[in-house]
Symmetry: C2
Subunit: 384 residues, 2 copies
Amino acid sequence: MPESIPADSVGLVAPKCEHFDEPIELECGRQLASYDLVYEAYGELNADATNAVLVCHALSGTHHAAGYHDMTERKPGWWDNCIGPGKPIDTNRFFVVCCNNLGGCHGSTGPMSPNPETGEPYGPAFPMVTVRDWVVSQARLADRLGIQRWAAVVGGSLGGMQAMQWSTDYPDRLAHAVVIAGAPRLSAQNIAFNEVARQAIRSDPEFHGGNYLAANTVPRRGLMLARMLGHITYLSEEAMRAKFGRDLREGKDEYDFHYEVEFEVESYLRYQGKSFVNRFDANTYLLMTKALDYFDPAAPYGHDLAKALEPAQVPFLILSFTSDWRFAPSRSREIVRALLECKKDVCYAEIEADHGHDAFLMPIPQYLAVLGTYMQRVANEVGA
Amino acid sequence: MPESIPADSVGLVAPKCEHFDEPIELECGRQLASYDLVYEAYGELNADATNAVLVCHALSGTHHAAGYHDMTERKPGWWDNCIGPGKPIDTNRFFVVCCNNLGGCHGSTGPMSPNPETGEPYGPAFPMVTVRDWVVSQARLADRLGIQRWAAVVGGSLGGMQAMQWSTDYPDRLAHAVVIAGAPRLSAQNIAFNEVARQAIRSDPEFHGGNYLAANTVPRRGLMLARMLGHITYLSEEAMRAKFGRDLREGKDEYDFHYEVEFEVESYLRYQGKSFVNRFDANTYLLMTKALDYFDPAAPYGHDLAKALEPAQVPFLILSFTSDWRFAPSRSREIVRALLECKKDVCYAEIEADHGHDAFLMPIPQYLAVLGTYMQRVANEVGA
């Protein structure tokens, strides 16, 4: 909880909601007749609507990217390090929009929302959504907000995949694409981790085939396991070593020979797992991991990523982090190579960082400097 | 199932059992009044009993290291690539012993064995066992077999930890120590993976606090998840890419948009998880992961591994594999550096291999050549 709002914060913010009655045809072949998108916006849209930046969230993110909902909130939005007055995505110049993705569990229509056909929560009846579907829905939100062309579409991890998809699906509706800690598709190992997480949730007896809300329960154990596993892949081995090492809890120096928490790292993981269960929906987690698995823009082009990126008309900033083993720098370099092959304008920086995949959320000076410098270029170009 | 026994196989083998009535004091402070050790042996013990090699198994290993139990067995013992006539651990020269570790679930006394105090399976009442405890019990087995001094103690992964422990705890009872794909202690990340596996098992409602046998059930889902997760850490990212890539099952080229198996890698993991449940005990899995977590020979020496290894009197062979990320080559090099620091005789080879941690089980020519050459030196030295 902030005692006072820091000067470089966007301050107190409130989510807004747009309702859409135009049906959306999803990649899976199904449609949603209507849906809500909840979003937050920071800064002021200029008269020509040229200064808008779309921030896309990752697996467990929300629309609450910066600032505070109220003075009791323990932490600001998830990307507060990067969004605010004078920050890399400078709200003195940009109008920043972040929406909760379709299928989410923080206000946008998703598995917890009432199914208009039954009045009950969709639960497992909610259709699979893909990165392409999200981009379609975000384009409709842009229409609604009077934004014909984003100054930039920006995202980390799964958010970076959305930025890539924007660049090819709506090439004239963005001026820049920023892909941070991303990948052009998941590896077999990435899919394997997602599959273990999904099995943890789906094999929890409290899952009830996804109808757990109707059964007045939640698959806590499964979702907790999924999140614990996720956290291992978000942190680097170095970060875990520096943060916990083999330290025992409470300064002990002898083993207890039991299965309760003994090592600090166990305590951390259990805490992360338990707290996640209170703020995230299991069906949404399943959907998000599948959207990750399915993302593979090169597949329809004979697995030629350069061909897939050919329609893009914008300059790209690609950023990766040295210790990220979930989406390692080599994955970002695949994107860079493909962009160079199809002769796009691309800046690439590999940031020295010990934090693993989570680095994209951290206030790492070199990272903030590179992102900030690039976004100033964007602001200058679009007259922000 | 072999149609005929290959010429370089140890052939048909049968486990033996030794019963011990001398109580064993365990590192956890508890004792077992009596216990069985099941083992297999291949080759002939020579007249002076100088040609015996102890092979120590890893997390999910057994005493069945080589050969076939009968002609219907689908696969030979787990280290058949390395043990046999003319193989690196050459049964024409060596008498090879491999026992199921105390706490195991393949015949040696463990959680599935009857607790003599109750007549019921020990279950969760079975005491925690450590690498040190295993080495004590293996020394007693050596006594029973008339082996005063092993020509070599050899092991991969957790087995390598036992070889290290032998070298310091019984320096005059072995002539060589061979530590393959090992580590001097687990990292925070290693412990974290073990903890997720344990939580998967322990949070399974069928676990019943470990008393699942009494409840006539087993925590199948939890053990399956633990094994699926384990498999991700046994394979390298490269191996997974080469083996599965992003291939869909049954040659499909479109997504099905459901949660059943879609990708080949999902199919592989589920198969591995399911088949493991039929051959392994959940309480044993918990014990084995804890033995891994607890192994830290340097801890009592101010975390100075060279000091911990000072009592060792034998030459060491240390082997690692380039793509092993569970116990990476850097972990083996920690052992090598400590051995050099305390002026021990050490050979080290880092084997180029794409298989990840599992490489230690594979017939990789360079690996077999290095191990075989070293073991010939051992055989010559001990007059095998």
